[in-house]
Structure formats: C-alpha cells, structure tokens
C-alpha cells in the first residue's frame, strides 16, 4: 500500500464578493499517494486553480476556505496557523505557476533566489546551497548550470524560465508538487521538453504531482488519474484510461468528442452547446444541466459523486454507463 500524501475532503472555497457568494470550489474531494500523478482538468472558471491555491493556503480575501479538510500526511492544513503552514509550503508542498515570471523576482539573480529558498527552510552554508541549486538546474535540463546561476530571469527564454521555476520547486525534494498550467504558454516542442523532464523527475524522486490543466490530451500522456471539474465540483474521476476511453459524465464525453483529432477531418466538430454558467448564478441541481443532451427533470437535484464502477466515480443521474451506451 503506497503512502498517502494528500487527502482533500469536501473542500469548499468561496469568494464573498459584493455581487454575492462565488462558490469557486464546492465540495471537492480526492486523494494522492506517493509518486502518483493526478490531472485536474477543467475549463476556465471551473475552480481547478482555486483548488490548487486552497491546498497551498494561498487564497486571498474576499475568498476563503469555507469548509472541508486538506490532510497532508494526516495534518489538516486548513486549520494550521500561518507559521506552521510556512514550514510546509515551499518545502513539503511546492507549486509551479503558469507564468514563471510570477515566481521569479526580475531584479535578483537566479542563484540568489535559489539560495534564499533553501535558507528559508534549512540551516545550510552558502557553498552547499550553491551546489544544491546547481544540481537542481542540471536536473531540469538547463545546460551549463554553473554559468546560468549567475543570470537574471529576463536572460532566459520562456521555456528555460519555467525550468528554473521547476528547479526551485524541486530544491527541497517536496512530497507534493502542484503545477498550475505550467506548459500552457509554451510552444509545442518546449512543452514536450518540460513534460519529459517532469515525468522523469517524478518517477525518480517519487514526488506526488497535481497537474492542473484545461488540456485533456496533456493529462492523457502524463497522469495516472484524472479529476474533471465543472463549475466548482468534480464531475468525474478515475484512472486516465477509464475516464478517457470510457467517460461516464456527459460533460467529459462532450469535451473528448469535441477534440478535433477525434472527429473526421473537415466535418463539423461535435460541440457542447451553450457556455459555462456564471459562477454567481449557478442553477440549482446539476450545473451542466442546461448544456446536457441527457438532462432530465431529476437533474434539478444535485447528484452525488458516486463510484459507479470500481475506481471510477461520476456526479450524474444519467451517466453513459457501458450497458446504456448509445
């Protein structure tokens, strides 16, 4: 039995705005074992990034974690005091953001930033810190790390900057890395390089990884498990093979069917009608109801996230069950 690193239970993160309460994350649960890669997939506004921020304790007002537990090796992070959280954040749980320029300080050299990161959590002398920083840069495939340590962030290309951000996340050999769309802004060939490095490192170090993305096909090649989010809730979760080859939820199925390569060339693409509902005016019941081809009167109540098949859960009253397949 693999070691349980993270257990998220009924997490709710709400934003209390003037216009009303936005339930950005509403009753989200999942678990993560050592070395496991979870893909958290959803469209903009689905709450996938806020889930990541909530685990890290980085939700700013007017938002706050309004309920649920985030258990890191049995400790509830949601109830932790800031100084205790600071000992975990960045050290045991690290985060990588979409825009590495948000992680990196533009006026400090890379070595300063990396050594600072090390010294924030450990008593370590400069020479040792520098050696670890150099090794981390080498690990993520940055050529001539000794020289690059002395460079400033603007002297790196976008892909290299993201590697530096990953190297910083890896400095303390964390148990868990939360990666929020880290390759979305990169070119295909550079994305390929980063995915290759990440895949290798996770495998070598046994780090658990949450990969947040809107792109199911990136997750398909990288993750063990997938959780699909829609309007703040997980609507389907399971192994990559189960979710992508046998999607149960009409939304997941719609997403997969609308990918161009899944459609005959030049023919109209399968499309999900309508658009995501405003987070301020979520309809009661299933939030996907208005766009769903299988909606029925019973969908006006909120379905639970039930394991209909072993290891494969779905939040739907009328899922695409194998025997009911059309």
């Amino acid at each position: 039995m693999a070691e349980r690193i993270l257990e998220v239970e009924g997490l709710r993160t709400h934003f209390f705005t003037k216009g009303g309460v936005i339930k950005a994350v509403d009753d989200v649960s999942f678990t993560l074992d050592r070395g496991q890669v979870l893909g958290l997939v959803g469209e903009s506004g689905s709450g996938k990034s806020v889930t990541g921020f909530s685990i890290m304790g980085l939700v700013d007002p007017p938002g706050r974690v309004a309920g649920g537990r985030v258990l890191y090796r049995g400790t509830d992070l949601a109830g932790l005091r800031e100084d205790a959280m600071r000992r975990i954040r960045g050290r045991r749980i690290a985060m990588i953001f979409q825009d590495p320029m948000m992680t990196l300080n533009p006026v400090l050299r890379i070595d300063t930033q990396m050594i600072e990161t090390l010294q924030a959590h450990e008593t370590i002398d400069m020479a040792e810190a520098r050696r670890r920083a150099r090794d981390a840069l080498g690990q993520v495939g940055i050529p001539s790390p000794d020289q690059r340590l002395k460079a400033y962030p603007h002297q790196f290309s976008g892909g290299m900057r993201q590697r530096v951000a990953i190297a910083i996340a890896l400095l303390h050999h964390p148990d868990l890395i939360i990666a929020d769309e880290p390759t979305t802004a990169l070119d295909v060939t550079i994305q390929g390089q980063i995915l290759y490095e990440v895949q290798k490192l996770v495998r070598e170090q046994g780090t658990a990884l949450i990969w947040i993305t809107h792109d199911l096909s990136v997750v398909a090649g990288l993750a063990d498990d997938v959780a699909v989010m829609y309007a703040g809730r997980v609507v389907e979760s399971g192994s990559v093979a189960d979710v992508i080859d046998r999607p149960l939820h009409p939304y997941t199925r719609g997403l997969i069917d609308s990918v161009p390569s899944r459609n005959p060339r030049g023919r109209p693409l399968h499309q999900i009608r309508g658009m995501s509902p405003s987070p301020l005016k979520l309809p009661p019941g299933c939030a996907f109801r208005a766009r769903c081809p299988r909606a029925a009167p019973q969908c006006q109540a909120m379905p639970g996230l039930d394991a209909l098949l072993p290891g494969h859960s779905v939040r739907c009253f009328r899922p695409h069950l194998p025997e009911a397949a059309q």
Binding site: E43, S44, S157, G159, M160, D187, V188, T189, I190, Q191, G192, Q193, L195, Y196, Q199, H214, D215, L216, S217, V218, A220, G221, L222, V240, A241, V243, I244, D245, G254, L255, I256, S258, V259, P260, S261, R262, N263, R265, G266, P268, L269, H270, Q271, I272, R273, M275, S276
Partner: protein
C-alpha cells in the same frame, strides 16, 4: 511557382518572394556613441524571409509554426496590416502595389483579419451593433436605412442573438466576443479571411463551436482562409493544405493528409511527434533538443540545423530550397537530395 497552379484561374492571393524586415534604428545617443568610436549597429530581424505562397479560391490554407517563426507577420502582410519590405503580393493575379484609390480600397476590404484576443481587437466603448455596422456604413456598402437590418443579418450568420446589439464587448463571454470579431470582419463582405490564432484563447468546448462556425461560413459564403495556428490538431481538421514555417521560412508545405501521413522535413516530424494526443497511454516524451534561436541572429544555412537529428555538413552553410518530394508536397531539406 508554388504547389498549386490551378487550371487557368489565378490564385485568389499569391505572395512572390515576400520578405519583411523589422529594423531597430539607432537613436541619437547611439549615433553619438558611434561618432565617438563605438560600433553599434542597427538590429535587423528578418521576420519573413522570401516566402512564396498561393491560396486558391475556396481553399483553407493552414500556417503552422512556433512563436517567433513569423507566421503572424506573414498573415499581417496578406491582410495589408504590414507592408512587405520585399517581393510582390498578387490579388487575383493583380499586383496589389499597382492598385490605387478605390481599387486598392476594394482589395483591402476583400481581405479581412481575425485576431487571437477579441478583447483587444474590439473597441470597448462601442456597442456591438456599432462595431459591426461601422465599416459597411463608412465604406458605403449599405445605406443608412438598411444598416440596422444588415447588422441583424450578419449577427444571425455568426450565431449572435440580435437583441444583444446594444451591449458592449465586456458583457460577453470569450467565445461570443470572438463571434463579434468574426461578424465585424464579415460585415464588409470579404472573400478572404486571415485568422491569426483565432481559437487559441478559447476553452475547449467553445473552441469547437467557433471552428464549426468557420466551417459553416466557408460553405455558406464561399470564403477562403489563411488559418494561422500553433495547434496542429486544429489545423489538421480545418485545412486543405498546410504550410510549416520556421524562423521566417517555409520549410514544408503539402496537402493536409499527405503532411500528417508522411511529414518530410525533420522539423515537421518533430512537431508532429510532440503533439499531446488524447490517448490514455502513458507516453514517454522524446523532446527535440534546444529552442528556437533568436531571429536577430539566425543560424546560417538551414535554420533548423542546430536542433536537427540528421544534420549534414552542408546544412550548416547552404540554405535548402523548397523542392517537390511528391505531387503538391514541397520540403526544404538537403536530406532529400541524398536518396
């Protein structure tokens, strides 16, 4: 010249040896420094380097490349946003540079462009009805009295609810805003649309809706597209023919099926290998080495040679020319001379 030489009819848009250089001129301080003995030189980027292309009427030509390869600059030259620094552009066989006055304006209207981010290409202070109606009114395509009905008709074409005519762009979602941008382009009755990453900023489910709209408009209005994208899946689905661009040059062009079935250029092969596929098998990513070099100082010879797994000595100093490797399939690679 290029792949298509359709029987008799000239292509709707053709570029012949088109280049675009961006020059960063020396400012006063730099010129003074030069007088005092410095050796500062003007920086020149060859964003587009002697490109030939021809698009036939009704065709969808996909243009693919990574950031900085010059695909957007090329699109802007076709749309008339940038003037080319060299070469000719022909519209239905006529050199655009020879046209003046009304004729030049007519050609300009026939080619419209759609950008990636509709929020920055739509005037936030105009109502949707005015955004769509302004150009046809100014150019006298529609009379003042008929304008209202005309705007309704265009909005209907792109699937926008006509009751939203008095709203502002910020009141719409991303997908709807892109529909407004498309409606604005269609309002001047174009024949040719340049779509520059027109679906890149949209969510997956909305992207499918907008791609379907492009395909429907092509059938209904007989439009021709230059479809610029970094997303090979989207380009494969939509295009009849695909061109691959790297550092300002076309490295390969072919009918879509041929290109995806048998990519010839090592760069195309690398690009195709990198596309994340929606297949539930753990895959090992095998990355191409290195990154796109800076266009300020591109490598000599074949621009791809520092990253190419099959590099030959001659690749380092001799620029490969586009040569036919099969019917309609052109590739610029020295390896093809070996066989």
């Amino acid at each position: 010249m290029t792949a298509t030489a359709a029987a008799g009819k000239p292509p709707i848009v053709a570029l012949e040896g088109v280049s675009k250089r961006f020059v960063k001129r020396l400012d006063v301080a730099m010129r003074v420094a030069n007088m005092l003995g410095s050796h500062l030189r003007e920086e020149v980027v060859r964003a587009v380097d002697t490109v030939d292309l021809a698009v036939d009427e009704g065709e969808v030509l996909g243009l693919v490349g990574e950031s900085g390869c010059g695909k957007s600059t090329l699109g802007r030259i076709v749309a008339g946003v940038h003037a080319a620094s060299g070469g000719r552009m022909l519209y239905r066989g006529q050199d655009v540079a020879d046209l003046h006055g009304q004729q030049a304006r007519d050609v300009q209207l026939k080619i419209q462009m759609i950008f990636q981010d509709p929020m920055s290409s739509l005037n936030p202070r105009l109502r949707v009805g005015d955004i769509i109606g302004e150009a046809p009114r100014v150019h006298g395509l529609v009379g003042r009295r008929a304008l209202d009905g005309y705007v309704d008709e265009i909005m209907g074409h792109v699937g926008l609810d006509t009751t939203y005519k008095r709203r502002y762009p910020h009141q719409f979602s991303g997908g709807q805003r892109q529909r407004i941008a498309i409606a604005r382009a269609l309002a001047v009755k174009p024949e040719f649309l340049v779509c520059d990453e027109a679906v890149a900023a949209l969510d997956v489910s909305i992207q499918a809706q907008v791609l379907n709209l492009f395909m429907r408009l092509r059938e209904e209005l007989g439009l021709t597209y230059l479809f610029i994208s970094h997303d090979l899946g989207v380009v494969e689905h939509l295009s009849d023919r695909v061109m691959i661009m790297y550092l300002g040059r076309i490295v390969e062009q072919a009918p879509t099926e041929a290109l995806f079935a048998a990519p010839n250029h090592p760069y195309t092969q690398a690009l195709l290998a990198e596309i994340p596929r929606l297949v539930a098998t753990r895959r090992t990513y095998t990355p191409v080495k290195g990154e796109i070099p800076t266009p300020l100082n591109p490598p000599p010879g074949c621009h791809f040679h520092p990253r190419c797994p099959h590099v030959l000595p001659r690749c380092r100093d001799e620029v490969p020319r586009l040569k036919a490797v099969a019917a309609g399939h052109w590739s610029a690679c020295h390896l093809n001379d070996q066989a």
